[in-house]
Amino acid sequence: MIRSFFSRAVSTLLLFAGAAVILLPFVWMLSLAFKPRDEIFSSRVQLLPSRLEWNNFVVALTETDVPLFLWNGFVVVGGILAFQILFAVPCSYALAQRRFRGRTFVFGLVLAALLVPFHVTAIPIFLGFAKAGILNSYGALILPFVPTAFGIFLFRQFFSQLPPDLFDAARVDGLSETAIVWRIAFPLALPAATAFAIFSITAHWNDLFWPLIATTDPHLATPPRGILYFRDQESGDDVGPLMAAALIITAPLVIAFLLAQRKFTQGLAAGGLKG
């Protein structure tokens, strides 16, 4: 009894210590974002600000391009997700519920594409976009991510578990295949779609690699790209507003995660299957 109490106490203590390390950058970010200037540049360890300095947020939201970065983030992430679903869902439906010539070939392509990390395709896509003159546009940020082998794979798994009779019944009722995809199959696949959406939104909201390559115009910067512009411009003077900006940029995903933890954990864990 005493032994088990002791081991419980030790493991709880260790878990708390680990959690403290995990929280450290979050807490320090919050602390700096709310600290008045003189307290940021003091050399004493001081976790809590003496008063809440909202001005850091005012500066970040009015004197910098942070709102624009957020807007760009919404456009790019929303655009990517919409096109991914538009292309992936009909294809996965066909792969799962229809028999056609080339089906094995298409599914083989999907599996092979799962093996290719995005980084590998970056140079040729950059070359192509440069030739086409579409670098530095929303299109350049969205287009390369439209094909999603992972999405097709996920939706196909889901669709192949649905009974074929369901779709036969819809056909008897005179629905076209396109209508079946969007009015019957897709609504049924909402759990899979949610998991996929969470995965896709998180991946592209947080992505730095491609925005760094495809855009040089600060007005097209997505949130991670934008915060680096901000950091590189300020010369170590504006730490408060910079931390406020970092907080604002990571807040949407963190809040969404806190509100829908189970869905988030599932969505991101499923993403681990992606190559």
Partner: protein, 300 residues
């Protein structure tokens, strides 16, 4: 449409459903892979009008030059640090939280949320926060060190330290992810196995772990190892945000080198060779992952 035969019509429907996705996949995945493979044997530079075939020169340069070797060595070191620690801590946290579920479910749940937070947060923004945490004079780490009588360190600009600092941040970011996978594995272990172990006198502590928990977690562990490795190989955000591969290339990694050579110096040919080497590493890992997933007992 009425004049088309049924077979024709069906074929057109299939084309309409599967064609667009297949086309964009060919256009943005397979054609680029072929091009990057071809480019890696040339001296092509972005914007140049022509190029020459130079055989394996780009690869020779990557494996033969100090810089190329350093990028590869740094990446492998980074991966070798992150894998055992991230997987080990992930497992330890999962075991602790799983046990805590029995007597303090609420606390266990809260801690799980905290550990998962870095996975959902924007890594670039958090790297900027880490930069302040590790700031030589204003950062909380050095301030604490100083007040305890230790020596403050230049965590991000000391050549000997920087790679370890980045690896620590990498571990910080991925522990929660591994924890979730391990928790799923732990929940799926049938309680009867523990009862049986109890009867056999292996019901406590280490023997319980070594006879039941660890063997049952085998497939999960393998999966977690490979996923952690694949992600560690792609390390880019922290490098680009915190060190740009510096100081003096001490934290240069494959993906960062590919970015710098390709998109800062515009040496498309050489960057393509780096890409291919990176691709080869990942291909081996991902194929291993596929085999594991295939064989894995599905817990979820």
């Amino acid at each position: 449409m009425r004049r088309l035969s049924i077979a024709r019509r069906e074929a057109l429907t299939d084309l309409w459903l599967a064609g667009p996705a297949t086309t964009v996949m060919l256009l943005f995945v397979f054609v680029p892979v072929v091009i990057v493979a071809v480019l890696s044997f040339t001296d092509y530079q972005f914007g140049a009008g022509s190029f020459a075939w130079i055989g394996l020169d780009n690869y020779a340069r990557l494996f033969g030059s100090t810089l190329g070797q350093r990028a590869i060595a740094n990446t492998l070191t980074y991966v070798a640090i992150v894998i055992p620690l991230s997987v080990g801590f992930g497992l330890a946290v999962a075991l602790g939280l799983h046990r805590m579920m029995a007597w303090a479910p609420w606390l266990s749940h809260t801690l799980r949320t905290i550990y998962f937070l870095p996975v959902a947060a924007t890594l670039v923004a958090m790297s900027v926060a880490w930069q302040m945490v590790l700031h030589p004079s204003l950062g909380v780490v050095n301030q604490t060190l100083a007040s305890l009588g230790g020596t403050p360190q230049d965590w991000l600009s000391d050549r000997g330290l920087v790679l370890y600092t980045l690896a620590a941040i990498g571990i910080w970011q991925t522990v929660g992810y591994n924890m979730v996978l391990f928790l799923a594995g732990l929940v799926a272990i049938p309680p009867e196995l523990y009862d049986a172990a109890d009867v056999d006198g292996a019901g406590h502590g280490w023997s319980r772990f070594s006879t039941v928990t660890w063997p049952m977690l085998g497939p999960t562990t393998l999966f977690v190892l490979v996923v952690t490795a694949t992600n560690a190989f792609r390390v880019f955000e922290t490098v680009a945000t915190l060190t740009r591969g510096g100081p003096a290339f001490a934290s240069d990694t494959l993906v960062y080198a590919l970015y710098r050579e390709g998109f800062v110096y515009f040496k498309a040919g050489y960057a393509s060779a780096i890409t291919m080497v990176f691709f080869a590493f990942l291909l081996v890992l991902t194929l291993a992952q596929f085999r594991i997933v295939e064989k894995r007992v599905h817990y979820r």
